[in-house]
């Protein structure tokens, strides 16, 4: 029979291993998270001094080495808006179909697999696709329209999956009551389910558009211009865009002042981070308010 002493020493050893293990895991989590904080602080620290009214509202001058980045800001704004106009109705529609209508059939499974695949396709392949279909085949040229369509298809899976999750979170009893009161299926969805799921849907939409706003590879061949001296005037115009502009000034233009590079980075980061924070707040507020 094992002595009590050896059992005690064994449990002591296990305790020690556990403490060591937990410390290791904590360390790993810190190693993962610290760079994120450092990156954000660094960009704001270095970039904030570059921000001025002239930088935000002026055109690039002297081969982009001076002046502002207005065309890139405006371009990213229009691209994000265009992406939203196309992807939001389509994505929410698809999510409604999956959550509320779709039968459990092989076709539904194929739709799901298609969405999973859309989510996994590399962004540069979306760029190729947009070039092949929208720019060349449909003759949209390198334009905001072609870029928005490309970004929209890329964003679709994010919007669909988060919206579907939000719809499924609405308890079934809500639907049962509405239908039993004589509501049709669409009336139930429109008046009962969608309003309840709205915060969750908005969160998904914003997260999707955030991704679209920061992407470079899909717009490389479909819309982005190296330098344009004027703002776009229609959806068939090409435009500068913040992410592509940051790429250009940090790799393609020699003798670029660091100040402008960091300034551009801070504007892009504010854009993206702002959307992220709005989404996070929306989600936590919806969670806190939820009554079921």
């Amino acid at each position: 029979m094992k002595s009590v002493k050896s059992m005690v020493s064994r449990s002591k050893r296990q305790n020690f291993i556990q403490r060591l293990g937990f410390a290791g895991m904590t360390l790993a989590a810190m190693v993962t998270v610290t760079p994120i904080i450092l990156i954000v602080i660094l960009i704001f620290w270095q970039g904030a001094p570059a921000i001025s009214w002239e930088f935000l509202s002026g055109f690039p001058r002297e081969g982009m080495r001076a002046g502002g980045i207005l065309p890139a800001i405006v371009g990213t704004f229009w691209l994000t808006l265009g992406t939203g106009v196309i992807a939001v109705p389509l994505g929410i529609g698809a999510a409604i179909y999956l959550a509320e209508y779709s039968p459990d059939s092989p076709w539904t499974r194929i739709i799901r697999i298609a969405i999973i695949n859309l989510a996994g396709i590399p962004s540069v392949v979306y760029g190729l696709f947009g070039l092949g279909l929208f720019v060349l085949f449909m003759r949209f040229g390198t334009s905001i329209l072609a870029g928005s369509l490309t970004l929209a298809i890329m964003t679709l899976p994010v919007i669909i999956s988060t919206t579907e999750e939000a719809l499924r979170a609405v308890p079934n009893s809500f639907r049962v009551v509405s239908v039993s009161l004589g509501g049709t299926q669409w009336q139930t969805i429109r008046r009962i389910v969608l309003p309840q799921a709205l915060p969750g849907i908005l969160t998904g939409v914003i997260l999707g558009l955030e991704r679209a706003a920061g992407e470079t590879a899909p717009i490389l061949f479909t819309v982005a211009a190296f330098f344009l001296p004027q703002l776009p005037s229609s959806v068939f115009d090409g435009t500068m865009a913040l992410p592509y502009h940051l790429f250009v000034i940090s790799t393609q233009v020699p003798g670029m002042p660091l100040r402008i590079q960091y300034g551009t980075a801070v504007v892009l980061l504010t854009f993206v981070l702002g959307m992220n924070i709005i989404a996070t707040i929306l989600r936590s507020r919806a969670r806190a308010r939820r009554q079921w």
Partner: protein, 297 residues
């Protein structure tokens, strides 16, 4: 009344249509990649295609160095991202107190949302000189630099999927293990993690898929030299990945040229790779769900 039935009918149709649009888009993507990429298979002899020199100006379209570049960078990224990502997921799901969890989860999400071009920008300014001086190599634009940053970008995917998987392991599993005298540490390794292993596997696969498809960061920090990487030393030399090749060269080719078609051919390969990875990941999830249903019924 009649009017509203009509409207309902049309809306239902539209919703169904948008549901099926996902299939349409995947089909369209494949179709257009094939249309533009397949001619490369006819115009470029197979022996050239599988040679080790990518030099389009001299009609040398050997894709092996590009595949090698992608493999090296992705493998390197996985070396960082898998242990760190899993450890972070375990920490968040099993160890961290609730308030720490509430801070860490959105932070990791922020990392996932940072534009890749911005990480590339910081990579050039900070990581590249750091790699050059600490490793004493002629240039900091190496596969290692790319792997380092790419690993960071794959981590959010791994963390969120793995954390979800750990979260769905029933509480009773853990309670049973603890009641039998296991320490929390033993419970994590012998009970929770094995129970969540298919989800963890999915997390790793999706993370690697993310790393393979990443474009801007790799293009900016890996030096873009299409040389077939051989041996471990290749990690510390410049490489060029498949994605970076497309992004860097598509802007300069003439539409319809052999070079143009060859870039689409690389796109087809990337499409197929992501298809395989995602189908595999999905099948793991589907199988797991079936098993769970069997157990519950």
């Amino acid at each position: 009344m009649r009017n509203s039935t009509w409207r309902e009918y049309i809306i239902t149709r539209l919703i169904k249509l948008s549901g099926y649009s996902a299939i349409l888009f995947v089909g369209l993507i494949f179709l257009f990649l094939m249309q533009e990429g397949a001619p490369a298979l006819i115009k470029i002899p197979i022996s050239t295609l599988f040679s080790t020199r990518w030099y389009p100006i001299e009609n040398k379209f050997g894709i092996l160095p590009l595949i090698g570049g992608t493999v090296v960078v992705t493998f390197g990224a996985a070396l960082f991202a898998v242990p760190l990502g899993l450890a972070t997921a375990i920490y968040i799901a099993e160890i961290a107190p609730p308030w720490v969890r509430e801070i860490l989860k959105p932070l990791v999400e922020v990392l996932g949302g940072l534009p890749s071009v911005m990480l590339g920008f910081l990579g050039i300014l900070i990581v590249t000189p750091f790699v050059r001086t600490t490793l004493d190599v002629p240039t900091g634009l190496t596969a290692f630099t790319g792997a380092l940053i790419l690993g960071g970008m794959a981590i959010p995917t791994i963390v969120s999927v793995a954390e979800d998987a750990l979260d769905t392991v029933p509480r009773t599993y853990r309670q049973a293990a603890l009641a039998l005298g296991a320490t929390e540490w033993q419970t994590i390794w012998r009970v929770t993690l094995p129970a969540a292993r298919s989800g963890v596997l999915t997390a790793i696969m999706l993370g690697i898929g993310r790393a393979i498809g990443e474009t801007m960061t790799v293009m900016m920090v890996t030096g873009n030299a299409p040389i077939l990487p051989t041996g471990l030393g290749a990690l510390f030399r410049p490489v060029r990945t498949m994605t970076a090749t497309i992004a860097a060269e598509m802007g300069e080719v003439a539409t319809g040229s052999v070079h143009y078609h060859s870039l689409f051919l690389i796109g087809i390969m990337l499409f197929l790779i992501s298809l395989v990875i995602n189908l595999a990941a999905a099948s793991v999830v589907f199988r797991q769900r079936k098993r769970a249903e069997r157990i519950l019924s």
